[in-house]
Symmetry: C2
Subunit: 311 residues, 2 copies
């Protein structure tokens, strides 16, 4: 297929490009390089079946031009803000980067008659609950602007899918870790310890517990869903059944770095405004489709730490 | 309280103003009069406790100025597109009028520290399902851009409520009917029959069945929720348990107009793209709070027809 990957120079997007090219697809990446990095896709730039455009999805005339020339069979829309803390300080960040990018992509898909869409959604749309989350869980009460921007995106995707007959696959990601990440708990802790190997300051009480997924498992899961799920509108939680505590991540990083650092907790049950201290996925739906992650949560975290340290 | 009512010159907004003034509140209405009408509030314009501004919520600098001067205790945000068919033809309509108006109101509430919000939501956020809809129903799969715009609004309201401590009441409206309406099935049928008293053309097969609620019951229900529900984030379905078929509405209108018109159905199970042919509310939550509508669905429809005919 002839595929547009938005945010394709980003952490997850670039791994997805690697896999899609391996499967024989032709790829166009549009990325504004705000969070994405050219070095994530530098190994792809000289391929005939890959092209990169540094453009902003918020520039609708330019995006229309890309769609007009591209004649895409499918769009993988991954471009978004991915820094939840930043979005909580300034709601305009997720409004623009997470939601308006989606709305522009949808408008172009409608206008240029592209009939297949993958959308990268998130556990953050569910909000704060200790319940086991199925895809049909309600109520949906995001506590971060990031979660709101993704749920708002899902809302318009649902309407466009129905009204304009766009086959849609939505995967709701957990915390994703691995090579090329640009932020998140592992990234933060390693950088803090590189700056000061004696003390690691952890936001919250360290008891936050979430499922982590290795990025290569994630993109394999995305492709599994897009190939196997055949409803007009397909929604899947993507993750692992197991979970890892923030304090366990801290300990693993200190161990892998060979340090003897003291951990200092700032206290409170969460790291920042908009942080969801705990969630667990019900993965029956994707398991029944025939997929489960190769690495559990702890193994994903361990692998990501090792990759980040160049091991 | 000192209250801002957005869309306060509209069908529902103007009835809400009547009730809020009766309860002793001071009201500022902001309405761009795109769907609202000045005559809906002409009887209020000379009151000291009422002021009207013809302004557009999409004009953020002007809206900020209104918030800065208004020092509101609470916002009732009713401004939105309410014409579902129009929004299905042009997604920009609900994007702007239904969603972006909400986002601008939220930004101003954050900036000017307004801590109470009522939001007019809709059954359309649930999408197309024959299940009985509780407030916690999932999945939420709107089939119209109107429903998407309202769900996208709820998403950001949820995040703002949580992150910036805004107490929130959301009521999800059914089909609302009564004096001052500007569109909808009763309005359409009466106008069609006034143009041609011989034939009434009905979109779809007439079997579409939904709960209808009389507008004065609705605004009473809104105020009941805002006064009695005391969570930080309160969501209620607002409606009646009973439902009315489109073909029954047609028959009632022909009867009330004293005509002998023939009904012609265009066929198909729905009136237009984005129409939800059937839904039913579970009203346990609002009933347990102590409220139920004075008029059932058929009585609401009958009353609205009579009022529209000046009876």
């Amino acid at each position: 297929m002839n595929i547009l990957v938005t945010g394709g120079a980003g952490f997850i997007g670039s791994h997805l490009c690697d896999l899609l090219l391996l499967q024989g697809h032709s790829i166009t990446v549009v990325d504004n390089l705000l969070l994405g990095r050219k070095e994530n896709i530098s190994h792809l730039l000289n391929r005939d079946d890959f092209s990169f455009m540094k453009e902003d999805l918020l520039n609708l005339p330019v995006l229309k031009h890309i769609f007009e020339n591209g004649r895409f069979d499918m769009v993988y829309h991954l471009a978004a803000n991915s820094d939840i803390q930043k979005g909580s300080k300034d709601p305009g960040v997720d409004y623009d980067l997470t939601f308006n990018t989606t709305f522009n992509v949808l408008q172009c898909m409608k206008e240029y008659d592209v009939k297949k869409l993958f959308f990268a959604s998130t556990s953050a749309i569910y909000g704060e609950t200790c319940d086991r989350l199925t895809e049909n869980y309600g109520p949906l009460r995001p506590v971060s602007n990031y979660g709101a921007g993704k749920l708002a995106s899902e809302a318009f995707i649902s309407a466009f899918s129905s009204a304009y007959h766009i086959q849609t696959w939505i995967a709701r990601f957990p915390n994703v870790v691995g090579e090329r990440f640009t932020h998140g708990v592992i990234y933060d802790f390693i950088h803090k310890l590189q700056a000061n190997p004696e003390i690691l300051t952890v936001l919250g009480n360290g008891e936050q517990i979430k499922p982590y997924l290795y990025v290569k498992d994630l993109v394999e899961g995305i492709q599994f869903i897009c190939e196997k799920a055949c409803e007009r509108f397909n929604v899947y939680n993507l993750g692992s059944d197991s979970r890892t505590k923030v304090k366990e991540i801290a300990a693993m990083i200190i161990e892998e770095m060979g340090l003897d650092a003291r951990i200092e907790y700032t206290g409170g049950d969460r790291g920042w405004v908009g942080d969801v201290p705990e969630f667990k996925y019900d993965l029956s739906k994707i398991n029944e489709l025939g997929w489960c992650a190769k690495h559990d949560s702890n193994a994903s975290v361990r692998l990501a730490i090792q990759k980040a340290l160049g091991k």
